[in-house]
């Protein structure tokens, strides 16, 4: 029945891309599983599995790029970034004014607010290496 000839029916990039696409999908499904979980243990398990899968996806993407199997999108133009910064600065100002008019200038920070990690801090290397999903094992 099974012959050991191991002949590829698809080119390497198609095989790799199929796995890459599934890893992206599974990462999202684990995120959904975590957000929909009721039990803390289940949430933790899905979170760990999400991190592991995201890590695998990144590793595969890197190898595919190194082997010219995946062409990254072309860089966006500087003026497009400038435009977006300008637009979103204005937008932030409007939102801040709106929020101020709603709260009457009294912004109440929930307990522990100061401990929240800002996106800047994440970029400075605060990212944790994904742990093995060994919660249940």
């Amino acid at each position: 029945m099974y012959q050991n000839h191991h002949q590829a029916l698809l080119p390497d990039e198609d095989l790799a891309y199929t796995i890459l696409a599934d890893l992206k999908r599974v990462t999202r499904e684990y995120a959904t599983g975590a957000t929909e979980a009721n039990c803390d243990n289940v949430r933790q398990m899905f979170t760990n599995l999400m991190n592991t899968t995201l890590h695998l996806q990144g590793d595969l993407y890197r190898i595919m790029k190194q082997n010219n199997m995946y062409s990254a999108a072309s860089p966006c133009l500087k003026q497009e970034i400038d435009k977006q910064i300008q637009q979103n600065k204005q937008n932030l100002q409007k939102t801040q004014q709106l929020v101020q008019s709603i709260t009457g200038g009294h912004q109440q920070h929930p307990p522990g607010f100061a401990n929240l990690v800002t996106p800047d801090q994440v970029h400075q290397g605060n990212m944790q290496h994904p742990q093995n999903p060994s919660y249940y094992s």
Partner: protein, 75 residues
């Protein structure tokens, strides 16, 4: 504290087991047939990770087995 699994959690766990199962097979095929050494090597490693993930999900089902009610609740 461990709580009984909800029907939704069970569905997600079972769907995830199918996903890990498929990925194990895909990685095995790619590791066996790909000609790019980097891809082959990576898929061999991935196959083991997916097997670990499969076992993690299966262990979650085992851990919740004894907590599950045997009759539907009225609430």
């Amino acid at each position: 504290m461990m709580q009984p699994l909800t029907a939704k959690e069970l569905e997600y766990i079972v769907d995830s087991i199918s996903n890990e199962d498929l990925l194990m097979k895909q990685c095995a095929v790619t590791a066996a047939t790909a000609t790019t050494p980097g891809i082959r090597q990576l898929c061999l490693q991935f196959q083991q990770v997916h097997e670990q993930n499969y076992n993690t999900l299966l262990s979650a089902l085992n851990a919740h087995q004894s907590l599950a009610p045997t009759q539907p609740s009225n609430s």
